[in-house]
């Protein structure tokens, strides 16, 4: 073990790194083993398998802490000393970035930057795509410099979060208990499902699902669902409060497990749901469909950001980690659970042709489709709900968002729950 202090190493290291950005880290391969990066985030992508693989491939230690999204926001905003890498959602980034606890990343050091899906760069999946409402990732994806606090609307070369995981959400249904096709968000408030519907009790996401429903009912067309005015918030929650008083809802759910139990037990036949929850219900042998709807999907995305306190060797390790993240192994790991990765083409190398066909291209499965943990998710002939990547991500109507009137919305949401 060398006796070099971090500062000495930094001095030498920066000189070495000056000319070469990516090859250089190999030089201090010995020292990097001593580095420990502390990452925290939601359970979705904070997986121990990733930490173990980092140790194996890169040599340094990644400590993972999984929290719920409220705690993640809290920690990112109030305890900058407690983490090196923040794994947060884009709407959380909008809330947390102004605190200055994160530093922007130099895209020239990101090897696969050019291959990152357009959604996270220009905002467009394909050149013809329209940009969805809400906190679209590219709108909070760039700042003007390393310590910039204002978001900019172009690819400035300084990225706030490197996208890691995203998906398109819709309503989950029990086709066996409903017995007819469901094609619109408005069905959530259809009196036919009185006492058998549910929505999630996480205000920032729930309000978006509500807006999808209200638009689908033809009640109102929002200029921007992701940034409502006070009147729009009142109107939206008014419609749902009335439905609640009429007994439309069986329950509201806050955690993943609750949504699974509500659906599996038949308490609820239609509800807002997350993709892995559908899988969990299905794995109990209960039919459950992640129903594509005419109005499109509500989408979400997460990424990893660097703590502002990160410098020197640790920062180099963090860049190396990010490059490794986009290199495909993690992508394959996440895509085999039904999520999407930021650079799908590298993930392809870590998936079988059948897996790639099923998850990404929307083709019928040729054989059993298993998740990374070895559980059989689908059998031969199954097709992914909603189809291919471009079918699903191309139909995003809005992104999870944080509104200017967020505090007002939260208060109104509390009233809705208490009503």
């Amino acid at each position: 073990m060398t006796k070099m202090t971090r500062r000495e190493l930094l001095a030498g290291g920066t000189a070495l790194a000056a000319g070469s950005t990516l090859g250089a880290p190999m030089i201090w391969a010995q020292n990097i083993k001593d580095v420990t990066l502390r990452q925290f985030g939601t359970g979705v992508s904070n997986l121990n398998e990733v930490a173990a693989k980092v140790k194996e491939d890169l040599g340094f230690t990644l400590e993972m802490t999984a929290l719920d999204s409220d705690s993640v926001t809290q920690r990112a905003a109030t305890q900058p000393e407690s983490f090196d890498i923040a794994d947060i959602e884009y709407w959380i980034c909008k809330k947390v970035w102004p605190t200055g606890n994160l530093q922007a990343m130099d895209t020239s050091k990101i090897k696969n930057y050019d291959k990152i899906v357009g959604i996270f760069r220009s905002g467009k999946l394909t050149p013809e795509s329209e940009i969805a409402q809400g906190t679209a990732p590219h709108t909070v994806g760039f700042v003007e410099g390393q310590n910039g606090t204002e978001f900019v609307d172009n690819e400035s070369g300084w990225m706030t979060l490197i996208p890691t995981i995203y998906n398109a959400d819709t309503l989950g249904i029990r086709p066996d208990l409903i017995g007819r096709p469901i094609n619109n968000w408005s069905e959530l408030l259809n009196p036919e499902f009185k006492g058998k519907a549910s929505i999630l009790d996480i205000s920032s996401i729930g309000i978006m699902d509500m807006a999808m429903v209200v638009e689908s009912m033809g009640e109102y067309k929002y200029p921007d669902k992701g940034n409502m005015t006070k009147e729009e918030i009142d109107m939206t929650l008014g419609i749902f409060t009335e439905a609640k008083k009429n007994g439309q809802f069986r329950a509201f759910w806050k955690s993943f497990d609750e949504s699974v139990n509500l659906m599996a037990s038949g308490e609820v036949v239609i509800q807002s749901m997350w993709s892995p929850a559908i899988t969990a219900v299905k794995s109990k042998g209960i039919p459950c469909v992640y129903q594509p709807l005419e109005e499109g999907y509500r989408s979400w995305g997460g990424g990893i950001g660097m703590s502002a306190a990160l410098t020197g060797l640790e920062r180099d390790a963090a860049y190396e980690y990010i490059n490794w993240y986009l290199d495909g192994w993690v992508g394959g790991f996440l895509m085999r659970q039904g999520y999407y990765s930021a650079v799908p083409e590298t993930s392809k190398n870590y998936m079988t042709e059948d897996e790639w066909g099923f998850w990404f291209e929307g083709k019928p499965a040729q054989g059993d489709i298993t998740n990374p943990f070895g559980d059989v998710m689908e059998t031969a002939g199954a097709v992914r709900d909603g189809g291919s990547f471009y079918d699903r991500m191309g139909k995003v109507a809005c992104w999870n968002a944080v509104m200017d009137e967020n505090q007002y919305m939260v208060r109104k949401w509390n009233e809705f729950i208490a009503a």
Binding site: T99, W253, N414
Partner: protein, 290 residues
Amino acid sequence: MIGNQPMRLSPNSKSLMMVSPLVAVLFVFLVCPIAMIAIVSFWRATEFSIIPAFVFENYEFLFGSSVTYRVFFNTFKYALITWAATLLIGFTVAYFLAFHIRTLRWQIALFLLCTIPFWTSNIIRMISWIPFLGRNGIANSTLISWGVIDEPLEWLLFSDFAVVLAFVHLYTLFMVVPIFNTMMRIDKSLIEAARDAGANGAQILWNVIIPLTKPGIMIGTIFVVTLVMGDFITVRFMSGSQSANVGRLISNDVALLAYPSASATAVVLLCTVLIVIGILLRFVDIRKEL
């Protein structure tokens, strides 16, 4: 002066020294946190930071919102119904144990039986009701198979009924224990005297046992009322997040980083509970019984 005389302490300072460790512990772990909560309740908060200040906006918002009153009403409603139910059940159980079971051994054995549910955690006892009461749960399927009902009863789960049921289940023992304790100390000869004087069973219960059990009832009442008023998780799970009490209001605020607003709510709740207890203590002097 003679030097080696042992140091004499007045009885007064001796007792002061004896209580001081308790005072210190209570000061650090009870007084300080509450003082901190009271201070923070005057601070200001933005979405991601809290700012030391001395403003009343948290209280203004709290008292200015109709939700607050509705939620406090709900909290009292749960407390009152739960109190009535636990009192009825708790008193009956304690009465049975104290006056109908003759041997001490059986009394202890049956009393221990009452505590068995407490071997598992609160949350587990509560959540185990959910599959039982559900639409396709044991309760509904049994009632349907008996022909009592044709359609599953929807109000069994995710309703105020479910919330109160869980509360009663969780907290009845807190009523049984103090009532049983005071009942055991009633001098049996008093009951014999009443009977000799010609009182019937109901009169003995009403004129002798209940007045003598009042301190136990009061202690049980304080337990149950404070536990129910401070709860948030039972209400959330058993109502399917559809009802709110003050505890949930606070937990929502905390989740949204609105610590000052949560503190203000907590202070108001604390005062409310203290007032309730103050009123209760006016009826009975429990110190006499301790």
